[in-house]
Symmetry: C2
Subunit: 354 residues, 2 copies
């Protein structure tokens, strides 16, 4: 029997853009590879995916994506090792989470074969687009949105699933300064915060702009009730090191269940770093900053990898974090990156060769 | 000096679809008129709007609308009176609210002239598309979304503003049955609930589907903390009549400031109907249903006009509302519709002739 991958029709570009790209000077997610995967959902079924030259999508003005925000996405990376072998990191977890997001947004789930074989076929074709510069990778963006028509506020009857690829450098440049938010919120109890749904991100832009005007790169979101608990950042889960214990908030329906987050918890266990998954109050973090027991704070996510936080702001005051010699952040980052780029053993079975 | 309207370039369709439309049998928002208005925002400026044949929009796959949900919209109607004169209802309020939504979603505001003159020019051209059947109107959908490119989770640098028109019949057909929600939420304190942002709607679809499986048409949203207070419905504000008093929840950053809602409050004042704007607990509504003091419940919105609720469900039990002879809902609906269709005096100055 034919696999799905064998059925994928590939239309190759006649004009590769790869020669125009400086792979040693990549920003994040602003250059796109030559091809994309496109798959349509109609009449209750996914059609066979197609790979075609990267190019514009045409939609009716009443397509529900424009009106009712039915859209979800994932963020992954492909890594190239010294032998030009290509690796993904826990890709089945992204597929699983994609379908969790789909359910919450009343969108159709995508079968594993469409996601995985689509991904592998596309990346196989675009192998030359994977940077090998340290700190760079091929950012992978699977996404789905409502293409079905109509102004009635109800789920669409047609969807598009795409995968696009962007060779990318670091998400943050330089020291990261964050603001603990006290007024705006990212998500509600019983809301969509745990889903990678488009609307969750647009809602963060305005408060993040206000924070940026005060000199912060990111907002750390707190609960919408009393802004008492530290939850997560725009595209990262948050870890706090209190003394020698690494603490992160439990996931909930307000917080994205990050793959980097859970990998850090697993690596820490192996490395005998004490971890706690529990609610973190803003008060205890401020107190720990004052009495010196707050050693580190960092963000964790596919795009940002592990990004140490240099300063956090709260109620008009800035708190600087110490610069440690042998930080948990740098130790854990080395471990995870070594697995991702196939520079070390992978005792967890996370690496996935293409 | 040329007005903006005089600068709008109009490209007329060569193939009108109007003969294919049965204006006596219209559903809601599924047929679109011959032309649309399109306006691009680039390099910090709005370009001159264009009117062109209704047709597909072409976007880069990395356009931020697909990924981060930056989209807002408005919902208005154009009404035709017995003399074929065309009227809008409080259109400047829609423009104002559009810009409030834009600010919260970190999108550029649209100048009043672009919104109003764009609207008037387009509707002037599409006058034949305004139904005159009772209960029908031309539904107007101004909307804006992020067309700028890139996978970085930050506001786009380019946007599109469009106005599309859909001759439409009633939003609901038959008796409306609603479910008071106890688990899912529509919005957070400090969130985007007060904005007409796409993501707010997609988030409602799944809980509404679950309610639909149990036989309800709509969900009545409650606060996300304890699901204690009645807030609003999917596309309507909610009114409750307790004894002879009409009660509706105060607007907040979780609730849309509906134009129908505030018009009802103003008409009620003139009609000597006693109103209260205050928090409404689910408990008091259930109690009032049990002791007979709950006389009416209805939804209010541009699409749904005033839609009486026949039954509400809560914690597995259904509560039927009485059928009143001379209900507030029917009285108020007649008043508002008579103003909209120019069948009565407009003491408020709400009607706006085109
Ligand atoms: C809101 C949010 N939190 C956390 C993360 C980190 O998740 P992951 O480690 O799976 O990339 C992301 C990015 O994917 C995110 O968008
Ligand atoms: C969430 C929500 N609430 C209430 C309303 C009613 O507002 P209006 O009366 O201005 O149409 C709408 C529809 O516009 C809405 O989308």
């Amino acid at each position: 029997m034919e696999t799905l991958a064998q059925q994928i029709n590939i239309e190759k570009t006649k004009h590769s853009k790869i020669d125009q790209v400086d792979f040693d000077d990549l920003s994040f997610g602003s250059i796109f590879s030559d091809h994309m995967l496109v798959c349509d959902y109609k009449n209750g079924n996914w059609e066979t995916p197609k790979i075609m030259p990267y190019g514009p999508i045409s939609l009716d003005p009443s397509a529900k994506i424009f009106h009712y925000g039915q859209s979800i996405f994932e963020g992954m990376k492909a890594y190239k090792d010294a032998d030009e072998q290509v690796w993904l990191f826990r890709p089945h977890d992204n597929h699983r989470r994609f379908n969790i997001s789909a359910e919450r947004m009343a969108m159709p789930e995508i079968p594993q074969a469409y996601f995985m074989e689509g991904l592998e076929t596309l990346i196989g074709l675009e192998k030359a687009w994977i940077p090998s510069t340290d700190g760079s990778a091929l950012y992978i963006r699977p996404f789905m949105f409502a293409s079905g028509k109509g102004f009635h506020a109800s789920p669409a009857d047609a969807y598009k699933f795409l995968i696009c690829l962007a060779p990318s450098g670091a998400y943050f440049s330089g020291k990261v300064k964050v603001l603990i938010e006290e007024k705006y919120s990212r998500s509600a109890d019983g809301g969509t915060g745990f889903a990678k749904a488009g609307g969750n991100y647009a809602g963060q832009f305005y408060p993040t702009q206000l924070a940026a005007k005060k000199g912060y790169h990111q907002v750390i979101w707190t609960d919408d009730h009393k802004h008492e608990f530290i939850e997560e950042a725009g595209a990262m889960n948050i870890f706090v090191r209190l003394g020698d214990t690494l603490v992160t908030a439990p996931t909930s329906d307000r917080i994205l269940d990050g793959i980097t987050r859970k990998s850090i918890l697993q690596i820490s266990e192996r490395e005998n770093i004490k971890t706690e998954v529990r609610k973190i109050t803003v008060g205890e973090v401020v107190e720990a900053a004052q009495d010196g027991s707050l050693k580190e704070m960092f963000g964790a996510g596919t795009a940002a990898v592990i990004s140490p936080i240099a300063t956090f702001g709260y109620r008009g005051k800035d708190y600087d974090l110490p610069e440690l010699e042998n930080s948990y952040a740098s130790r854990l980052k080395k471990r995870i990156v070594d697995i991702q780029y196939n520079r070390a053993e992978d005792p967890f079975g996370w690496r996935y060769g293409i």
